[in-house]
């Protein structure tokens, strides 16, 4: 390491430190914005340092500069446009798209490095391990994230797509990819690299296709972890500490979130990746059969219950986001609060389509974050709650989860059934994702308000206003 490169490497260490500090500041909503700015500062320093390094090197051709700068600027413009225009309900797709391009870029770093070295016949064994891992993970992330984004955007069916013999194809692709990788340790070969890339891309597609829409929080987290790992591997390939540290941080973050999401859905990662759930077979009928009655409620009666309650907990689910009802909910909650009702929101970890998604949607609707409460924190409060208002949430409120022997047994749920009364706003009486009847709906203290969430919120708000002036 020559003197100058050493100094630049020191700058990269500073950059890595700024990333860690930035992420540390994300541990509270009060400091999170500063955290993002600290991380951004690190990024700006890294890019400037790299420019200085390349300029000092003096080996970059004019075409090289143009290609890099024009490419980065065009990409930045597209990224900025996407970031500014995206709807908060579509954040999961955008995150998925960024995972995709991040993984793709990481793979390209190794692919080019290999191409360059191979053309001079200097591929080394140790380099190849990281090169192979980078290309493998990066390519899987690239294609897998595109499929995930497509599913979230509704371009590809959100239902699990089961290809006949899909598992066999997956195994075959994995064998081809790993076999080619192993072959490349010994022999530098461009065609082998091409096979590795194609097999990895195909594997990424095949891996995500069979996964259902409701498992997306897990899939996005997992692909996020993959991208981080791919970037770290790219760091090994080019010997850059900033990439190694940043990649490791993202890998750690993605892995933690993956585990949290899988736990919150009571499913193992293998179970999700291999597929199952929602395929229609092997559904065991549990809970009250057709003879149990559900009670429906009119807007006026619901409004009276809410307006004269002293404590209301709102339980939002994906149905609320799908109906774009977050602003309506916030308006109703504000009205109740002005009457002196204590209102809080119970957020299940998998409410929404990615970790923490519901919190962002409600924050967008100006709900103050101290009102957004995590499951473990709010569960004890249901017992002294007058009305629990469930909006578009289903499986996460089903008391059947506490009993063994059904699809959601053991899944952590919100203890909505402990509240003194429950109002469920639901678009239809259909099943939730797990295909189960929700026993909560048959509880004598539960009333059903069958309507689209947005319409229901408008009606309830109007009714409360008329009733109490």
């Amino acid at each position: 390491m020559s003197g100058f490169t050493g100094y630049i490497q020191l700058v990269y260490v500073l950059v890595a430190a700024l990333f860690v500090v930035g992420l540390h500041l994300m541990n509270s909503p009060a400091t999170a914005r500063r955290g993002n700015q600290v991380a951004l500062t690190g990024m700006v320093i890294a890019v400037i340092a790299t420019f200085v390094l390349l300029g000092h090197d003096g080996t970059v051709t004019a075409t090289g500069w143009t290609v890099m700068i024009v490419g980065a600027l065009l990409g930045s413009a597209v990224g900025l446009w996407a970031a500014r225009t995206v709807q908060m309900t579509a954040i999961p797709q955008l995150v998925s798209a960024f995972n995709s391009v991040g993984g793709g870029a990481a793979a390209l770093v190794a692919i080019y490095g290999y191409y360059y070295a191979e053309s001079r016949g200097t591929v080394l064994g140790t380099t190849s391990v990281f090169t192979v891992l980078d290309v493998l993970i990066g390519s899987v992330t690239f294609s897998g994230s595109i499929i995930a984004a497509g599913k979230l955007q509704g371009l590809i069916s959100g239902q699990p797509i089961i290809v006949k013999g899909g598992r066999l194809i997956n195994v075959a692709l994995a064998v081809v990819a790993l076999g080619t990788g192993a072959f490349m340790f010994g022999t530098a070969s461009l065609p082998a690299m091409l096979i590795l890339v194609l097999a990895s891309l195909a594997f990424g597609v095949m891996m995500v296709l069979p996964i259902g829409g409701a498992d997306m929080p897990v899939v996005i987290s997992l692909l996020n972890a993959f991208t981080g790992t791919a970037v770290a591997m790219a760091g090994f390939v080019i010997g850059n500490w900033a990439l190694i540290v940043a990649g490791a941080l993202v890998g750690a973050s993605g892995s933690i979130l993956t585990k949290l999401m899988a736990d919150a859905m009571n499913r193992s990662l293998t179970n999700i990746i291999v597929g199952g759930f929602g395929t229609g077979d092997s559904m065991v009928a549990v809970g009250p059969a057709g003879d149990a009655q559900v009670r429906s409620i009119a807007a006026d009666d619901a409004a009276i219950q809410l307006a004269y309650a002293s404590k209301v907990i709102i339980v939002p689910g994906y149905g609320l986001a799908a109906a774009q009802a977050q602003h309506g909910v916030a308006e109703l909650a504000k009205l109740l609060e002005d009457r002196g009702v204590e209102v809080s929101y119970a957020i299940h970890p998998v409410a929404g389509r990615m970790p923490g998604h519901m919190n962002v949607l409600l924050a967008e609707a100006n709900v103050p974050y101290p009102q957004l409460r995590e499951m473990d924190e709010i569960n004890p409060e249901f017992a002294r709650t007058d009305v629990a208002l469930v909006i578009g949430a289903n499986d996460v409120t089903n008391p059947a989860a506490r009993r063994p022997g059904n699809e959601i047994s053991g899944m952590p749920i919100l203890d909505v059934d402990q509240a003194k009364s429950v109002i469920v706003v639901k678009r239809s009486m259909g099943h939730g994702y797990a295909g189960l009847d929700n026993e909560l709906y048959y509880d004598p203290k539960t009333s059903m308000y069958v309507a689209d969430a947005k319409k229901a919120m408008a009606e309830l708000t109007a009714a409360v206003k008329t009733l109490v002036g």
Binding site: R33, N36, V109, A252
Partner: protein, 130 residues
Amino acid sequence: MSTALLTDLTIFILALLVGIEVIGKVPATLHTPLMSATNAIHGIVLVGAMLIGVSAHNAVGYVLAFIASFFAGANVVGGYAVTGRMLKMFRKKAVTPAAVPSESGQPELESLNGHKGLRGLLSKVGRVQP
């Protein structure tokens, strides 16, 4: 095993452990912005894309460098911008009066105040209170 590789591996393992420690403390409320922020951070691959551009000397190299720079540029700028946009929406308001630092009298815009330094870069993403 070379010293350089050993150093890289050490850094990688330690960074993983630091990551697990630091990120484990992030509350569920912020998980989406966290993922978005880490998304931006893996945009550091832009540096990698630039470094491959150094040695590009033919069409294949230029094309690969262009695509990698494009991808990484979108990743890094989009990631930071959307994270900033999301975090701007998290506000504490007057619900817990004791904890709120005194803001200006406009509750709807309060959290948009006080742009400093690099925040200006991000603030272009949303409305800015002058």
